[in-house]
């Protein structure tokens, strides 16, 4: 029957229409509403929030910080994660499965617990590594970590690393080891093999991992909220404050919608570029 697939997916379609599309449309509309300290949300059409988001240097700086953090997280995840995926792939049978689980497993452990770990290691004077380093005389004052961009970047890199390893690992599975062996047999040094044979072939994996990590880093909430606190706001923690502390929902909605639109544009654009660049090789 021609209608079978539609009937089968109808329940899920209705569900998504009702509780994904309608709420998102409402959020977009909300960002055009007015708000006042005493009058609350007024359902009139105004560009006030959007003007504020685009002209106030505070928002500009905050979005710039959000994407700067996401950029460095992506860079470090790629630089550290790709070699590790390669090393994992060269391991022998029991070890490679075991370590793959050790590295990917944290993905499923609560992000709050993982971020708490970083706060325990480096947080202020009581941070365990800071305390040890100070008592050993290596450093005179604790390394600044909490409420710094460095701290957020380190913790987020750790939180999102499994996605990068996963993407590169998946690309490595498609690699034919015979090509590497052929290069070695023809006298290529290990460095040349990696640079000329392995890297070009896993590049799509690294790039798709980078897109995932960037999108998740730019929209991360719990880690920047715990490490960055109120002093170092990113887009998602700012939207949270507007919604649950200031109660200026329309302005918070504008920030959230802008984050969504910027991310979708970046992710779709980057994916197109990657696909076009590698279409000839993997088409």
């Amino acid at each position: 029957m021609k209608s079978t697939p539609y009937l089968l997916s109808l329940p899920a379609l209705l569900l998504f229409g009702a509780i994904v599309i309608i709420p998102l449309v409402m959020t977009v509309l909300l960002s055009f509403h007015d708000w006042g300290q005493y009058k609350g949300i007024e359902p009139v059409f105004t560009l006030k929030n959007w003007r504020e988001v685009f002209t106030d240097s505070y928002f500009l700086e905050m979005f710039w910080r959000t994407f700067r953090i996401a950029f460095f997280v992506t860079l470090f995840a790629a630089l550290l994660g790709a070699p590790e995926a390669y090393i994992l792939n060269r391991m022998k049978s029991p070890w490679r499965g075991l370590f793959l689980l050790v590295i990917l497993g944290p993905l499923l452990i609560s992000v709050v617990a993982r971020t708490l770990g970083w706060a325990l290691l480096f947080g202020g004077n009581s941070g365990l590594i800071n305390k040890a380093l100070v008592s050993m005389g290596v450093i005179s004052a604790p390394l600044p970590f909490m409420f710094t961009e460095t701290g957020v970047i380190v913790a987020l890199t750790h939180v999102l690393m499994p996605y990068m390893v996963l993407a590169v690992w998946a690309a490595l599975q498609r690699l034919d080891p015979q090509v590497e062996n052929a290069a070695v047999a023809l006298g290529a040094s290990p460095f040349t093999v990696v640079r000329r044979i392995v890297l070009p072939q896993v590049m799509p994996g690294i790039l798709s991992g980078a897109i995932i990590v960037f999108a998740l880093a730019a929209s991360a909430f719990a880690t920047p909220a715990i490490i960055g606190g109120r002093r170092l706001k990113v887009a998602s923690t700012l939207a949270y404050d507007e919604f649950l502390n200031t109660l200026n929902w329309p302005l918070g909605a504008a920030v959230a919608v802008l984050l969504l639109v910027a991310l979708v544009a970046i992710v779709v654009g980057a994916s197109r570029l990657v696909e076009r660049r590698y279409a000839q090789v993997f088409g």
Binding site: Y6, F16, S110, L116, L121, G123, H158, F221, A222
Partner: protein, 268 residues
């Protein structure tokens, strides 16, 4: 295949330490006998695990998270099985758009979903209710359930169904005795992954949970915002232990590599 050199193994060791250190430190600090954050060296104590009992909001949040995860993953699977059969076994207009829609909660920042649900549920009178939490969690875990049920629906051998039909089985019997059992592995692993993602979700839930409907990650998050003390490390250690146990069970039953990577790492 060539072996890893010593430099690679040193790098690998440092990388594994980097990945595990923050998780292990939480678990170790949870055993401190002191009243402040410290690394237990000679004396270990369960003091802070007993202390959880004096905070009923953590206990009730834990049970709420378990229920929420169980309910939302079960309902998400119920929605995704027919959708997976439609997408995986039929070619029809709008198929790609439909798949993109069902997968969209993976791409929409959870902050945006939280904001959207907060407004939506407040308007509906569901603000801060458990029903609202379940509805929101169904949507965010559905992509995980769908992806794994889809994988088993695509790999399904149609000739078995055709054989059943030619032997006189009715449509209903084919579905119940042939099709559903064949997609069962994907269904089970999909619901497990959906459960874990619901159990850990904090960003969206923090917007829509109210005092009295807070989940465990939300309760932990709000607690850490105010103060970091050994209590929250012992709660985190319990969460980590629950997740690791679930992961081990899942690994035994299905193979975690298959779940995360999509195929067995050694099966080639």
């Amino acid at each position: 295949m060539s072996k890893n050199g010593p430099v690679a193994l040193v790098y690998h060791t440092l990388f594994v330490i980097f990945m595990l250190a923050p998780i292990l430190v939480v678990c170790f600090v949870a055993f401190t006998p002191e009243g402040y954050l410290s690394f237990p060296t000679d004396r270990w104590s369960l003091r802070w695990f007993y202390a959880i009992g004096r905070y009923p909001e953590f206990i009730s949040a834990f049970w709420r998270s378990l229920w929420l995860g169980a309910l939302s993953s079960a309902i998400a699977v119920a929605f995704s099985v027919p959708a997976a059969l439609a997408i995986g076994r039929h070619r029809f207009r709008g198929r790609d758009a439909m798949t993109a829609l069902f997968m969209s909660p993976l791409m929409i920042p959870h902050v945006v979903l939280g904001i959207a649900f907060l407004r939506f549920f407040t308007e509906l009178g569901l603000g801060g209710t458990f029903v609202g939490l379940v509805l929101a969690h169904i949507v965010v875990v559905l992509p995980f359930a769908l992806r794994l049920t889809l994988a088993s629906a695509v790999g399904l051998d149609r000739s078995i169904e055709h054989a059943a039909i030619s032997l006189g089985a009715s449509d209903r019997t084919v579905l119940r005795r042939i099709t559903l059992p064949l997609v069962l592995p994907g269904l089970i692993s999909g619901s497990a992954l959906a459960f874990i993602n619901s159990f850990d979700e904090v960003t969206m839930t923090v917007f829509i949970a109210a005092p009295g409907t807070e989940t465990l990650p939300v309760r932990m998050f709000l607690y850490i915002q105010d103060n970091i003390d050994p209590l929250v490390t012992s709660v985190s250690a319990v969460v980590i232990a629950v997740t690791v146990l679930a992961l081990i069970a899942l690994d035994r039953a299905y193979g975690l590599e298959r779940l995360l990577v999509g195929r067995s790492a050694d099966g080639r």
